[in-house]
């Protein structure tokens, strides 16, 4: 029995994650919402730690956040493949920008096999509507 972790990702309307190594977008309210909604430390790599510079107490910086994230832990991923860790992912917290951005890297897993547990919209600091979807893996 492997570990079961929660992965947090932000995607545009086409499943895009990054373009030329840069993030598509960011939003202060989204980061605050995430920090308030999970209690475990959030595993991030150096690239993503920038987003949490005002909430440094909430993150654990790692070169391999998906590998290092413990059972029951949370990993916020912007620029890493998820597929190699698909067996470890028990829950996905997906933030949808509800926008089209350029992308050359898109999400590499499908949500086939995940069940939508909840869905809510909120207003971001620079986005009119961000949708938060929580999905858990079907057992």
């Amino acid at each position: 029995m492997g570990k079961s972790i929660t992965v947090v990702i932000c995607l545009d309307d086409e499943g895009g994650m990054t373009v030329f190594g840069k993030r598509q977008s960011r939003d202060r309210v989204l980061i605050e919402e995430l920090c308030e909604s999970v209690s475990a430390p959030i595993y991030v790599n150096t690239f993503s730690s920038f987003l949490f510079r005002d909430r440094a107490d909430r993150v654990h910086i790692s070169d391999d956040p998906l590998g290092d994230c413990p059972d029951g832990g949370v990993a916020f991923i912007e620029n890493l493949p998820l597929l190699p860790h698909i067996d470890d992912i028990g829950t996905v917290i997906l933030y949808k920008w509800n926008r089209l951005y350029p992308s050359d890297v898109k999400i590499d897993i499908s949500f086939d096999g995940f069940r939508v547990e909840s869905r809510k919209d909120f207003v971001g600091s620079s986005h009119e509507r961000i949708t938060k979807i929580i999905m858990t893996k079907r057992r």
Partner: protein, 303 residues
Amino acid sequence: MKALLKNLTALLLLLSLVFGFAACTLPGDDTESYNEEPIYIEGIGEIPAFSGKAWISVNDNKPLFTESEITLESFERYAPLDPLGRCGEAFACVGTDIMPTDKREGSLSSVTPTGFINKEYDIVDGGFLYNRCHLIGWQLTGENANKYNLITGTRFMNIDGMLKYENMIADYVKETGNHVMYRVTPIFEDNDLVARGVLMEMYSVEDEGEEISFCIFAYNNQPGISINYRTGESKLNDGVPYPDDEPVELPDSDGPDYIINISTKKYHLPTCQHATGNNAREYYGTEDELIQDGYEACKVCKP
């Protein structure tokens, strides 16, 4: 094979439910063939022919802004129309102070960009091939029916090529309060009335390009449609390119009517000693049009 198809269908259905987009034919499918010539851009070099992708990075993805052009003061400038009535570069330093705060209102139909011979196709999302396409998107500077900022652009270029980068810039500026240098230059070949594409340069100033730094060419193409760039006519792609004939002739002219300075907003006689500098542009048109666009006569040459 059936199992594979079943899984693929399920995946597409799930993606459409989660992302809210329907499964559709993607540009660049192998059913398309593109055999156009490469495009040449001064300062950039040769751009590969359209292969179904909406945009590519050029110049190693490095924008061409000079140090003296980069500023923390918001502005927007639009080049005058050339003798054929075509737009030139649109240049802005985008900041929150010049971004629109209201909803967009008003129609663009009062402006007819060159080559705007529109036609409806079943294979084009939204129906019509062409949009009146903002060089600098409305959401960045609030310029709507501005004839210096509207070109004939395919739906594909407008949405898949340009809008995505405009969204990225707009949301970055709103989130950070920072500035983004943004220049969009339509690329015309010879006397074509429809641009082959646009060169889009963008650079976030305060963080020195850390979050925004791109040099992109967006193709003014539409998958499945063949465009006559000379005139703006179009047809379903039947594999027979439009003949490269009947060039549009330049109107008879002894030179520009005025020289304008797009920074100081003054207009000069072409012979004026002040009609020089980086911001000087040739202008073909009437004095009334210039005054209407906010230009003032030079007090030295008194045009």
